[in-house]
């Protein structure tokens, strides 16, 4: 990937990246009720990181987020698998979800859903996969 040198892009993306990430977070949590969800949130987060990589360079991204994205993929898959397996321990079929409404401080009546944990798995897997592919191809010489 070419070394970024566009000062405008760099300065704008410093702000925009956070807006995109915040939006991705919003999409993730709102997913069950309105447009959004783990998949799209994952892609959007990856998009934010990609913008960072384009504006600066891949080394910057590696420094800012010092994770192995392959590991993140694996963690995501593991979370998804465990959510599914969890149901088995309650005598339910694999991947049966449960939900309920709880009174939480600050948030008020909130719906809590095991599907959200599964979605977290999806989110992490998507971020991991996208970033692995992008970084691998981008770093290749």
């Amino acid at each position: 990937m070419p070394k970024g040198s566009d000062i405008f892009l760099q300065n704008i993306s410093k702000v925009v990246v956070f807006i995109i990430l915040a939006f991705a977070l919003y999409l993730f949590f709102t997913g069950h009720g309105s447009p959004g969800g783990g998949f799209i949130a994952g892609l959007m987060s990856a998009g934010a990181l990609l913008l960072l990589a384009l504006a600066f360079d891949i080394d910057t991204v590696r420094k800012v987020i010092p994770f192995d994205f392959k590991l993140i993929t694996a963690i995501g898959l593991l979370i998804a698998l465990c959510t599914g397996t969890g149901a088995l321990f309650f005598g339910e079929p694999f991947l049966k979800h449960a939900f309920g409404y709880f009174q939480l401080p600050l948030l008020g009546k909130t719906e809590l859903h095991t599907a959200l944990i599964f979605d977290l798995g999806v989110y992490l897997a998507v971020v991991g996969v996208t970033m692995t592919i992008l970084l691998t191809i981008g770093e290749d010489n």
């Binding site: 892609l43 998804a80 939900f99 859903h113 798995g121 692995t132």
Partner: protein, 879 residues
Amino acid sequence: MSLLHLLTLSPFLLAALLPLLGKAVPRLHKGWFAAALSALVFATLLRYLGDIRDGSPIIKSFDWIPSLGISFTVYLDGLSLLFALMITGMGVLVALYSIAYMNAAKESLTRFYVFLLVFMGAMLGLVVSDNLLTLYGFWELTSITSFLLIGYKNEKHRSRYGALKSLLITVAGGLGLLSGFILLYVMSGTYRIRELFEAGAPLMSHPLFLPAMILILFGAFTKSAQYPFHIWLPDAMEAPTPVSAYLHSATMVKAGLYLVARMSPIFSGTSEWFWIVSLGGLITLLYGSVAAIKQTDLKGILAYSTISQLGLIMSLLGLSSLSGIFDGEEQILYAAAGTAAIFHLLNHAVFKGALFMAAGIVDHETGTRDIRKLGGIAQVMPITFTLSLFGAFSMAGLPPFGGFISKEMFLESVIEPLHAGVFGLSTWAALFPIVAWIASVFTFVYSVLFVYRTFLGPRKKPLKNKQIHEAPLLMVIPPVLLAIMALVLGFFPGLVAYSLIRPATEAMIPAVTASGERLPMDLKLWHGLTPALWMTIGVIVVGILLALTAKRWTKVYNFIPRRVSINRAYDISLRFFEHITVRVTSLYMNGSSRSYVKYILGFMLLVLGLILFNSNDVTFRVGAYATIAPYEWVILIGLAAGALAVPFAKSRPVAIILTGTVGYLMVLMFVFLRAPDLALTQMVVESISVTLYLLCFYHLPKLRTERQAVRFRLPNFLVALAVGVLMTLVALTVLGTNPFEPVSDYYVRESYESAGGKNIVNVILVDFRGFDTMLEIMVLGVAAIGIFNMIKLRRKATDVGSRHVSHEGDESEDIAAHFRKAQYEHDGPTTVKAPKEPWIHCVSDLNHDDEENPEDELSDEFEDSESNDSRKKGGDSDA
């Protein structure tokens, strides 16, 4: 999920955790984990002994795929318990033995123990499954783990050769088994073994009965190394010795016997079953015992001996099936063959396990397993010598060992058919005692030679001045325990007779307990002067004579023609198939992505087109669509223009940005059509994929200007046109055609009610079709790892011979030149030569005789000149 399920699956669980455990306690040998688990499972299984002894089997069901009638039902009866105890009991000993045998300092043994544990789990699952399909799944898993374990030293050519051979033969048998099971299902409508037992007579008269039987026996014979499918077992001896002791003598090869015993209630009483099983076993018995004498490798002797002993048990199983047509006294009489089979099964596991471990000790301490170099080490290895003596005597059928009792029972059982008078036995029954006696003589001879040539006599030259001492304690304890057990089984057979042998035999021949009585057990050393005892005395006398004169008459083996053998047929057919496969594959895998796109689209055209024009429900409702607003026209024109412009783009980035334009215009279209989630997804996907494309193409060379005019290619044009037309038609018919009740109503109704979500799309993704999503992200993960490996771990251009186009310039230029060539100059299957793909290397590798062959002559017929020839041929075919 019951305790039994947990027990069966626990080895898999430990296999999954083993890499982590190994990291947590790196100094502990990983074998301890395997040993501890086997001991735990063994001890827990002992709890069921009481119930099983009283003849009440335990059944626990767990639905797996209820819609297909597939459940993981655990059924524990005498037969299953005997096998389960053998698997876990031998598992403990083998794991302990391997701790001393496998050197943890040299290599990480995680891989070894993971395979071993998975095997143990598969084997346990195999013997406790009540469902045929579950049984089949575990059956194949044992083949696969066996493959992995034989090929454990994968840098050795002989290991890879042996592993592949065992896999091909046992998996071919496995497929036969699956077909047989499916035929059984077709006949009876059930996959449950227990229900099949009750199907009874109507099953026997079904025309598919015989094919099902033969297919199932094919599976059992390949797995239990029966003649002529035995050829994989001697080559499987490339596995580390603990594996040979465990898989290839005590457990996995007995899976075929288990299956025959398990299926006996269904098939026994028919003449085909009787003749195939007993005769197949008898031939194997004779062949194995005769071939074992020629072997010079200790493990080779044991391999052929195992083949022979498996044949013995197989023939006993066949003989016991005679009990299916008699009742009363005679039924009990023939069921005694079943008792003998079960008892010998146990005895064989015990003495063969001890002998394999002894062979491993000798190899470990002297550095050779070649019987011609060994000799005279009894003084320095007294314990190993003694336990080998015990094992060999039990194998030869000498008192007072367990093997003597079961051998006597075997000899009695082969005399019995003389009085049966069914299935043409009045003519052929004499065959049984004669063949059995001859085979017993040879068994005696190789057992004696095994001990004599290894431990006694003078020291041979290579080992003359070598310091040899007894193996470490941990390595000696497991075989010593087994040797003691061989003795205990001889003196006190009653220890297992009522608790294990009787329930197992009754499970195999349920008819004997129909009247409510238990099968009589008659296991003891002294039966009086029976014909069987006279036969044994004859065996010993003739055997000693033959053993003393062995040097003279073993020259006979040199006259066996080596050019005509089953091994050779196997090698030739393998080369033949490899050759054909390479040619067929290179016909269409020509390395030009343009051709691949053509195949994919062509196939789509065929399938989709046929459905579209053959189905009656397809209707076109032209004119029934919503009107298109002016601003939508603008977008549509933009879309069309963008798509049309792509092929004319002069450079790659422009082409990519043009496709991106089409995508972003679609986003706009989605917004107008009030589909915010689609718009959102499309936008993000488009942004990322455009960037990805740009990244990819950044590394590719610039588009070359075509010097000559682009040739018009009719097939390409036709495919392109037809796909366009087809897709338009599909789009037009989608709204008008509605052959099924739309599923969306259900989702709209249920997504809030039962899943608690308002975003139907997301509820479908994570809840209703959560399984799909899970597998999809797995596919994504695999793709990411694949890309990572492809790019990060790829070989340098210089490593891949045929990719190297020229020696001048840098490597990337070479590859680029190659791709340019593939893409622009030669767009056709005939001209573009695919670079030699790695998988072709792998297969061709079979012919690669890069190591010195062991002197195991019967199993080994590679000749250097010949393999070189075929290598050349293989090279020609893909060049």
